[in-house]
């Protein structure tokens, strides 16, 4: 491998690794912030929906009989592009309302039950309870009447935060690819620049050593002069050997 190739390899690999570390640092932080923002959006919407539903319950209508709740959850589902399903579950784990109407009256899936149990223990107006379903993230918030009794749980299944994170990572990946391409190009340029002097020194030395002609008027570098001096030295040695050889030949002729 030539000096140029080694330089390109070293600079390219080092900068590529460093840039990847920068990208990981930014992507990790950025996706965490983005997911936090997404969760905040979900929490806000869930709390707003909870407040709406509880207002209707406070007017004295039982939750299972509040048909307007079906419209509310369908609005909630429609407004969020990441929403997969919104359901209201009774304290007994039966689905009272659902954006998938075929599930109404059925026993809720286990992950919804788990979220319901978490929500039952949460303080009034507290943070969402979460679970991971097969389709996405399941979030739940308890619904309470005026007596602060739990009358149900509002459950939303959303495309997981990971889905949002992956989409964002894919977007950021293009930046990394661009950075690596730029790093490669710069590595080639740096390799060329840094290898030029040693290669030129060697070329000049070799040119002087092999007595290549110098361009007219061009400056003679120190390396070329060095090679020329060595060439002169070797030439002088050769001349001495030739002289001795001729004298030996003369002695040989005399003997004959």
């Amino acid at each position: 491998m030539t000096l140029f190739q080694r330089l390109v390899l070293v600079v390219g690999v080092t900068v590529a690794l460093a840039l990847s570390a920068v990208w990981l640092m930014v992507a990790d932080l950025g996706t965490a912030r983005y997911q936090a923002q997404s969760e905040q959006r979900l929490a806000f919407r869930m709390q707003a929906a909870r407040a709406d539903i509880e207002n209707r319950i406070s007017l004295g209508v039982d939750l299972p009989r509040s048909l307007v709740v079906q419209d509310l959850i369908e609005d909630l589902h429609r407004q969020d592009p990441d929403s997969l399903a919104v359901d209201v579950i009774s304290p007994q784990g039966v689905t009272l309302f659902s954006t998938d109407r075929a599930l109404i009256g059925d026993q809720a899936p286990p992950v919804w039950q788990a979220v319901r149990k978490q929500s039952a223990g949460s303080p009034e107006g507290g943070a969402l309870s979460r679970g991971q379903g097969s389709d996405g993230t399941v979030s739940g918030v308890a619904l309470r009447n005026d007596l602060h009794e739990e009358v149900g749980v509002l459950v939303a299944t959303t495309r997981g935060a990971n889905g949002d994170g992956y989409a964002l990572l894919a977007d950021l990946s293009s930046l990394l690819v661009g950075g690596l391409v730029a790093a490669g190009a710069l590595a080639v340029g740096i390799g060329f620049v840094l290898s030029r002097t040693p290669e030129r020194q060697a070329t000049e030395f070799v040119a002087g050593l092999t007595a290549l002609p110098v361009s007219a008027g061009g400056p003679v570098s120190a390396d070329r002069r060095f090679g020329q001096a060595l060439q002169d030295r070797l030439g002088w040695v050769g001349d001495r050997l030739d002289q001795v050889s001729q004298r030996l030949s003369g002695a040989d002729d005399e003997m004959r």
């Binding site: 920068v22 950025g30 740096i190 030996l248």
Partner: protein, 299 residues
């Protein structure tokens, strides 16, 4: 091998060969290049990535603010529809403050109605008479609200959310410090890697070249095989060996000729003559003994 003296002092004029002094300089330049390139590209990458992240987070935050505005509009509409005048609404400031606390990253919320303005604040909930000085450009959302008197029809209001211009602004100094640290690390790693991959070989072969050149200056024309390297000193060594090879061959032929003459000497006079002639060669000169190999190679 025959040794001959070299009175010319040529060896004293020889300096360290080409590329011998460049290894520390090259290593330093490689380290500096790696650090600078990482710093520049890292800053650009950081800036672009934060811009995209800000955009994504801002879009999400905008959706939250729109939902919040819809909620405020709905609540105020109910109050106004009941006949409460806009300037007699009670607890609006506390309502806005409760809303602000549910929106992390929001510094202030201001509700602007015709002739009135409410600001999110803790505690007493008094109305504000003057507009607050904005710290950054707020997000604005228009509200459609009915006045207290149904006869007057609907009127508009504006909800203003003050928040940090960039959701990730607080993280930027830490990220910049991270880029700086990674740049320094890249410089160290790059310099070390270059030394291991090329610098060490460059220095070793440069020293070998310098030793060979010094040896030639002292009349020792015996060089180790140059090897197959592609670094600059390798080229120099290879060329030097190629230049010395003919001299070695000529010296070998000379010695064979002298041996031949000695062999046919009957009375010793020819031997004396040969010794006198060979005495003209410097005693310090040393050539390789592998002349038979040179014969076979056809040089």
């Amino acid at each position: 091998m025959m040794k001959c003296a070299d009175p010319s002092g040529f060896a004293a004029e020889l300096a360290l060969g080409p590329t011998g002094r460049t290894v520390p300089v090259l290593t330093g330049l490689v380290a500096l290049s790696c650090a600078l390139v990482t710093a520049v590209l890292g800053m650009v990458l950081l800036d672009r990535a934060l811009g995209r992240l800000d955009h994504a987070i801002a879009a999400d935050r905008d959706a939250v603010y729109r939902m919040a505005s819809a909620g405020v509009e709905s609540s105020l509409s109910r109050a106004l529809t009941l006949g409460i005048p806009a300037d007699r609404l009670v607890g609006v400031d506390a309502f806005l403050e409760a809303l602000r606390q549910r929106l992390p990253g929001t510094e202030r919320i201001v509700l602007v109605l015709p002739g009135q303005q409410y600001t999110s604040r803790r505690g007493d909930g008094e109305q504000t008479a003057h507009a607050p000085e904005p710290e950054s450009e707020p997000s604005r959302y228009a509200l459609s609200l009915p006045l207290s008197s149904p006869r007057e029809g609907a009127t508009g209001g504006t909800l203003l959310f003050w928040h940090a211009a960039s959701p990730l602004a607080g993280d930027r100094p830490g990220l910049l410090a991270g880029v700086a640290a990674l740049s320094l690390g890249a410089g160290g790693v790059g310099g070390g890697l270059f030394f291991l991959c090329a610098g060490r070989a460059l220095r070793t072969r440069g020293q070998r070249l310098a030793a060979a050149v010094a040896a030639v200056g002292q009349g020792q024309f015996v060089l180790p095989p140059p090897g197959g390297g592609t670094l600059p000193p390798d080229r120099c060594l290879k060329t030097l060996a190629e230049q010395i090879a003919p001299l070695t061959l000529r010296h070998a032929l000379l010695m064979r000729h002298a041996e031949g003459l000695r062999a046919i000497d009957h009375d010793g006079s020819l031997t004396r003559q040969v010794e006198e002639i060979l005495a003209a060669l410097p005693a310090e000169w040393e050539f390789s003994a592998a002349e038979t190999d040179l014969y076979r190679q056809g040089r």
